[in-house]
Point group: C2
Chain length 351, copies 2
């Protein structure tokens, strides 16, 4: 007998229907892959439900539109692909104000435009209560083919782009009532100096990281064109969970060093003890996590420098039997939990 969650997973994992065509890939990666002639098309879907994925109390409609599209585009980046078009289905309550709908649509279009993707279609419906946005992104893999999650080999180095944890910190702040657009906040901020000013700047940066994530499209495409990564995934549910996913798909283990994880300074500020938890377990960073053989490092760093994208080597792929391991500052090794922020908050508490 199947459980409900297994059943629901069935929908998204494509174990049935007709068998996928040879060369097509429907299961367990950032995008499905459809072979069309010599090219590989990438398709991904992200569903965002009000009250589950976002809260209108702290999400302006323009940023909601941008983020819904950004989340799907990040999956294209994670396959080393180039976005081509998006389709947006939106269910909006009848009471939705025109200004709200206009801002939402502007955000959708602006995010697509910035990525060079056309808004090619979609569907709309009224909704009885809440907003639902379902965004399909379609992209093309590079001529070298898509970069899958399953290609990591023991000995490969593990890299992550950008910095981690700011989005989760931003979500905390927003839930506590922090409103980055509050006029009072801005007028007061002009009067403070020193640490207090730094704290306010960090709060703004964190809230913005959550509300307006920047998918690493240029980096993902450049990595795809050169075909350097052996495996890649985007960090949408937290470094720990997404590293586990990559290792599961590749049937390998990994060892990462806590000290090498690029914790965002906005996540660290104020409460440095919690920053590792935010960086390991916080979601929605939309950075790229990938592996590559050691010989690729010089070319990787050249790409990162050219694109001005920070890139950190955080560890190494190991044989599967070693498991996925976190090495802390004192050299102690322990299994990296397949868990989100709530877990790490207690597990890594240092004060």
């Amino acid at each position: 007998v199947l459980t409900e969650s297994e059943l629901i997973a069935f929908i998204s994992r494509g174990r049935a229907g007709a068998p996928a065509r040879k060369g097509d890939l429907g299961i367990g990666d950032d995008c499905a892959v459809l072979k069309v002639g010599a090219r590989s098309l990438l398709v991904t879907v992200d569903l965002m439900a009000e009250g589950v994925h976002f809260d209108l109390a702290y999400t302006p409609p323009y940023l909601l539109g941008r983020k819904a599209v950004a989340a799907s585009l990040s999956d294209i980046a994670a396959m080393g692909g180039t976005p081509r078009g998006v389709f947006v289905s939106a269910a909006l309550p009848a009471k939705t104000k025109p200004a709200f709908a206009r801002a939402l649509v502007e955000g959708i279009h602006e995010e697509a435009r910035a990525a060079g993707a056309a808004v090619l279609g979609g569907d709309t419906s009224s909704s009885m209560h809440r907003i639902f946005l379902d965004v399909v992104a379609i992209g093309e893999a590079s001529r070298r083919g898509p970069i899958l999650r399953r290609g990591a080999r023991a000995g490969d180095a593990i890299y992550v782009s950008g910095t981690l944890g700011a989005s989760a910190r931003g979500l905390e702040l927003l839930r506590k009532g922090f409103r980055p657009w509050s006029r009072r906040l801005w007028s007061r901020s002009l009067l403070v100096r020193g640490r207090e000013a730094d704290r306010r700047r960090d709060e703004l940066v964190a809230a913005l990281a959550h509300l307006l994530p920047r998918p690493r499209l240029a980096l993902g495409r450049a990595l795809g064109v050169q075909g350097l990564p052996s495996a890649m995934i985007d960090v949408s549910d937290g470094l720990a969970i997404d590293l586990h996913r990559l290792c599961d798909a590749s049937r390998v283990g990994a060892s990462i060093e806590l000290a090498r994880i690029p914790v965002d300074s906005a996540a660290a500020a104020g409460r440095p003890g919690r920053a590792p938890a935010l960086a390991l377990g916080g979601g929605e960073d939309y950075e790229l996590l990938f592996t590559a053989p050691a010989r690729a490092e010089r070319r990787l760093m050249a790409i990162a420098e050219r694109l001005r994208e920070p890139l950190a080597r955080i560890g190494r792929i190991t044989p599967a039997r070693r498991g996925v391991v976190l090495v802390d500052g004192s050299g102690r090794r322990r299994p990296l939990p397949r868990a989100g922020f709530e877990h790490f908050r207690s597990a890594t508490r240092t004060t």
Copy 2:
């Protein structure tokens, strides 16, 4: 200043984002078209919201899954294409019972399997109140290219497959409390003869037409392979509305004859006076409406015969200035309203 409905139409019509690539088509057809090398990929999205598009009071979850997929597949048929894969996003309330979810997923997979399409992915979310299903279908156009809405020329004949009106009649019955799976209905039905038996059979057929529509995939594909239609659309919102859409896209007029419209006998039974309204204005028939030059008729009829799909020639394309016209039984011509069932019910009442 834009109205709300214009804004929402923006999302689905793709007037912004980045410009679509040359050869791509994102606006105003059954599917978007993406050129990939020499092939044309077809992409369509259909959003179904509980309380708007379906009512669980009369929609068993297995049939809901089938119909959600069928509606998207019908758009692939309407471009003369072959389905390749589907992606299903589902938002289900936390209270959803496992048996319900299982039946829904079985319906999704069975409909995809029957069409030769793989379930390649999707996304799931909990929902606070209602069910939302967003189905993406991806297909390939024939090597002759997709059949668009915009190719009809004055002088072309107008054809429609199958029969019309049964789905709308079924919806009426279901809304009035008719339950085709009621045990009482079936046990009683065995006892009656003659007209009463015919009526019950018609009611069952109509309810089934609404709950389990059959997209005309084989016919659509065969028409696409031979490249016979000059323009095509599926009848999802009613013959009148969808003929107007085809004529708008092609910048032509049309003249159709009421007497030639293939009214489903299940729609006609019992209340024959209302059947034309159901056939013209009732939605969700998922038949194919297309145009073709007169010289194609023999080949069209041969395809229809081979596939055992009824095909009716209902009229002719005219220059745009003639408008879209309905010719009734007494030869009277009048503009065909761009309207659904409610309008036609009063306009065509004969008793």
